[in-house]
C-alpha cells in the first residue's frame, strides 16, 4: 500500500530519529511526518476519537504536522491524506503514532 502511495507522488520527508521519539500526534513539531498507530478513546465511547477515526486517522495512515497556532502552539494544523485539519492539543493527544521501526 505504502509503495503505491509513493508511486502517486507522495514523498515522505526524511525523518530524523534523534534522542526522542514522539508517540503522540501532539508531540510532533512542524514539518514532522509520522504514521498513525491508533486513536485512543478518552473515557468510554469518546465521540471525538470516533470522529478522528472517521476523518481518516486510522492505522497506517501518514500524517504531517504543518503548523502551530500562534498562541501557546495551539491548535495544531495536521495534514492527513489530501486534507488539512486544525486540532486542539487535547484532540491530537488521542492519536498515537507508530514506533519508528514500523513506520520506516
Amino acid at each position: 500500500m505504502r509503495s503505491r502511495l509513493a508511486n502517486c507522488g507522495y514523498n515522505r520527508e526524511p525523518f530524523l530519529f534523534s534522542a526522542y521519539l514522539p508517540v503522540r500526534l501532539s508531540e510532533l513539531l512542524p514539518g514532522n511526518t509520522a504514521v498513525v498507530h491508533t486513536v485512543e478513546d478518552v473515557g468510554s465511547a469518546d465521540p471525538i476519537a470516533r470522529r478522528l477515526r472517521d476523518l481518516g486517522f486510522v492505522a497506517g495512515e501518514p500524517v504531517k504536522l504543518v503548523a502551530f497556532g500562534p498562541v501557546g502552539n495551539d491548535p495544531l494544523l495536521v495534514q492527513i491524506g489530501f486534507t488539512r485539519f486544525a486540532l486542539r492539543r487535547s484532540e491530537a493527544a488521542r492519536v498515537q503514532l507508530q514506533a519508528a521501526g514500523a513506520s520506516a
Binding site: 502517486c8 507522488g9 465521540p47 471525538i48 500562534p70 498562541v71 488539512r84 485539519f85 486544525a86
Partner: protein, 614 residues
C-alpha cells in the same frame, strides 16, 4: 413552494466544503426557499428545477456531514433525512452524494457510508476543473464499476457545469449494485478505490501551501488577520452609515408624504411615529447586515474563515468560546443584530449559544449617542498624564468594561453549563478558492430576506406597541407638562422609579427607558421629550447636555453610563436571539442576566459615587 405530486425528490449531501451549495445554486438558481427543519435551528434549503424531460425535480440541500454517525445537529438532520426518520420530511427518492474531486481520500469514505443505505444514488464528482488543473486523473468508468453506482462530473461554479448531472438524474437511477457489510473497513476500501481509479500527482495544491505560509504565520498571519478585521469593522461601522442615514431619511420622507394631507391626530401619529418609524427601524439594520455578510460569505467561500478561526482559537477557547466566535463578536461592536446572525458560521451549538449570549455586551454603535451625551455633560475636559483626554479614557473604559464582562460571562457559562463535555475543534481547512458572485448574491439575498421576514415583524409590532404606550391616554385639557408624562409609558415610568431609585434614576430617565426599548439611541430623543425640548435630534442632544449637567447628580450620570454597558433593553436584539436560537427561554435568560448585571453594576456605581462625593 408546494410539493408537486409527481416531482422527483432529490437530496444533495456530502462532506462540508465539497461545493454542494454552489452546485445547488447552479441547479436551482433563485428558485430556493430557506426555512428551518422542524424543531431545530438547522437551516433547510429547498429548490427546484425542471428537467429536460419536463419533470419537476425538487432538490433538498442537506447540511454538510463528515459521517452519518452524527456529531452535530446539522449532521443528525442529514442522517435522519437519508433514513427517512426526520420529523416532517419524507424520504428522498434519490440521493446525490457530492464529492470534491481534489479531496477523494476523505470524501469517498462518506460516499461509501451513504452507499450502505442501499438507496438509489448518484455520485457527483465536483470541482473537476480544479482536479484537472492539479493533474489529478480520475478514471470515471473504473470508479463507476468499483462503486456500483452512476458517477458524473460537475463543475458547480461554471456555467452549465451541472449538465451531466441534470441529464443523469433524468434517467432511471437504481440502487447501488454493491454494498459493504456494516462492519467493513471503509478506509481500506477507499484506498482500494483510489488505487484502482485515481492518479494523484501532489498531495495539496502548491497554491494553498504558499498562501498558508503567510496566512497561518505567527506574525504575518496575525497582521493579515488584523488588517482584514479592521476592514470589516470599518465597513460595518462607518461605510454602512450613509446608507443607514439614507434609509432613515427616505422612510421618514415617505412617511411625511403619506400623511401630508391628513389632519393632526392619533391616526397621523400612528402612521409617522408608529408604522413608518418601525419600518425605518427594521430596514435601517439592512446595510450593516448585508455588508457584514458580504465579507463573511466571501471569507467562508474562499476558505479563509476557518484559517482566522485557527489563528484565534486558543485565545477565544480560554474564555469558553471558539475561534469562530471572533467575527460575530467583532461585528457586534457595530450592532448585535448582524453579529448574532453571523453566529451561523459556528457549527458547535454550545459555542454558538455562548457567543449569542455575550454578543449584546459588545458596545454597539447605538450606545454612542448616550455615552456622548453623558460624558460631555459630566466628565470634565481634562488632560490626564499630560497626554490623554479624560473623556476619551472614560469612553475607552466603557468599551473595555463591555469586553471584560463578555469574557467573564462566557467563562461562567462554560463553568456552570450542564454540558461539561469536551467539544472538539476538529476543523477542516479547505483549499482556497475564488468565491463565485452568484453564490455570494444568493447568500446575501437569503440573509437580508430572513431578517426582514422573521425579525422585522417583531420589531415593527413592538415599535407600534411602544408608540401606543407613549401616546395614550393623551394629556388632559390645559395640561402643562410634556404629553408623554400623562401616557401609559409615563405612568409605567413613574412606577419604575421605585425600582430604579436605588441606582439613582429619576422618573425622567425611567420614562425615557421605555421608548428606548425600541433602540438604545432613542433614549436620548426620549429624554429630550420628557424635558419638553423640541427640534432635531442633534439640537435636542445639544440642549439636553447642559440641562442635565445642572439637574442630575454626578452619581446618577455615572450610574446611567454603567447601565448602558449592559443595556438589556434593546428589543431588536432580543427578537433576533429569539429567531436565531428558536427559544423564548434563551431570550429570558439573556434579558434577565443583562438586567441583573446592569442593575448590580449601576447600584454599586451610584452608591459608591454618592458616598465619595458627600
Amino acid at each position: 413552494m408546494s410539493t408537486a405530486e409527481n416531482a422527483l425528490r432529490v437530496a444533495l449531501l456530502g462532506n462540508p466544503n465539497c461545493g454542494k451549495t454552489a452546485l445547488f445554486n447552479q441547479l436551482t438558481g433563485s428558485r430556493q426557499k430557506v426555512a428551518n427543519y422542524a424543531g431545530v435551528t438547522v437551516e433547510r434549503k429547498q429548490g427546484r428545477y425542471t428537467a429536460p424531460s419536463g419533470r419537476t425535480v425538487e432538490l433538498l440541500d442537506l447540511p454538510g456531514a463528515y459521517s452519518l454517525d452524527a456529531a452535530s445537529p446539522d449532521e443528525a438532520i442529514t442522517r435522519d433525512v437519508c433514513l427517512g426518520i426526520a420529523a416532517g420530511e419524507s424520504r428522498p427518492d434519490l440521493l446525490v452524494c457530492v464529492a470534491d474531486a481534489t479531496n477523494l481520500r476523505l470524501h469517498l469514505r462518506f460516499v461509501l457510508e451513504v452507499r450502505r443505505l442501499g438507496q438509489p444514488m448518484v455520485l457527483a464528482l465536483n470541482m473537476m476543473d480544479a482536479a484537472r488543473r492539479r493533474g489529478i486523473e480520475i478514471d470515471i468508468a473504473a470508479l463507476e464499476r468499483e462503486l456500483g453506482l452512476p458517477v458524473v462530473e460537475t463543475v458547480a461554479v461554471k456555467h452549465a457545469g451541472a449538465q451531466a448531472l441534470v441529464q443523469r438524474l433524468d434517467r432511471v437511477v437504481a440502487a447501488p449494485t454493491k454494498r459493504d457489510a456494516a462492519d467493513a473497513d471503509l478506509h481500506a476500501e477507499v484506498r482500494q478505490l483510489l488505487a484502482a481509479a485515481v492518479r494523484m500527482p501532489a498531495r495539496t495544491a502548491a497554491f494553498d501551501d504558499v498562501i498558508d505560509k503567510v496566512a497561518l504565520h505567527p506574525v504575518w498571519g496575525l497582521v493579515l488577520l488584523a488588517v482584514l478585521m479592521f476592514l470589516i469593522f470599518q465597513s460595518v461601522f462607518s461605510w454602512a452609515e450613509p446608507l443607514m442615514d439614507g434609509i432613515e431619511g427616505g422612510i421618514k420622507a415617505l412617511g411625511d408624504w403619506a400623511v401630508a394631507s391628513m389632519a393632526e391626530g392619533p391616526l397621523r401619529s400612528l402612521l409617522t411615529d408608529g408604522l413608518f418609524a418601525g419600518l425605518g427601524g427594521v430596514l435601517v439594520f439592512l446595510p450593516q447586515i448585508l455588508i457584514l455578510f458580504l465579507f463573511i460569505l466571501a471569507l467562508e467561500e474562499s476558505g479563509y474563515l476557518p484559517r482566522a478561526a485557527f489563528l484565534l482559537d486558543r485565545l477565544m477557547f480560554k474564555a469558553g468560546l471558539s475561534g469562530r466566535s471572533f467575527i460575530p463578536l467583532l461585528s457586534s461592536f457595530a450592532c448585535a443584530i448582524p453579529g448574532i446572525m453571523a453566529t451561523r458560521s459556528i457549527q458547535d451549538p454550545r459555542d454558538r449559544l455562548t457567543t449569542i449570549m455575550v454578543a449584546p455586551l459588545m458596545t454597539c454603535s447605538a450606545r454612542l449617542p448616550v455615552y456622548t451625551l453623558l460624558i460631555a455633560a459630566f466628565i470634565p475636559q481634562r488632560t490626564v498624564a499630560g497626554l490623554f483626554n479624560l473623556q476619551g479614557i472614560v469612553l475607552f473604559a466603557l468599551y473595555i468594561a463591555g469586553i471584560a464582562s463578555a469574557l467573564l460571562v462566557a467563562y461562567v457559562m462554560k463553568r456552570f453549563s450542564r454540558d461539561r463535555s469536551e467539544h472538539a475543534l476538529l476543523m477542516e481547512l479547505p483549499s482556497y478558492r475564488w468565491p463565485h458572485p452568484r453564490d455570494l448574491a444568493i447568500g446575501l439575498w437569503e440573509r437580508g430576506w430572513i431578517f426582514i421576514k422573521r425579525v422585522g415583524g417583531i420589531i415593527l409590532a413592538l415599535t407600534i406597541l411602544l408608540w401606543f404606550l407613549s401616546t395614550f391616554p393623551g394629556p388632559p385639557e390645559g395640561a402643562t407638562g410634556p404629553a408623554i408624562d400623562y401616557s401609559l409609558a409615563g405612568r409605567i415610568g413613574r412606577w419604575l422609579e421605585v425600582v430604579f431609585a436605588p441606582i439613582g434614576f429619576n422618573w425622567q430617565i425611567c420614562i425615557a427607558l421605555i421608548p428606548g426599548l425600541a433602540a438604545r439611541e432613542v433614549a436620548v430623543a426620549a429624554l429630550g421629550t420628557v424635558y419638553a425640548l423640541s427640534g432635531s435630534d442633534d439640537a435636542i442632544a445639544a440642549e439636553l447636555g447642559p440641562m442635565i449637567a445642572t439637574q442630575w447628580p454626578l452619581a446618577t450620570a455615572l450610574s446611567l453610563l454603567v447601565w448602558y454597558i449592559f443595556a438589556p433593553q434593546c428589543l431588536s436584539t432580543l427578537a433576533v436571539i429569539r429567531r436565531e436560537t428558536n427559544s423564548w427561554r434563551n431570550v429570558w435568560i439573556a434579558a434577565g442576566y443583562l438586567f441583573g448585571l446592569a442593575y448590580v453594576a449601576s447600584f454599586i456605581t451610584f452608591q459608591v459615587t454618592r458616598m465619595l462625593s458627600t
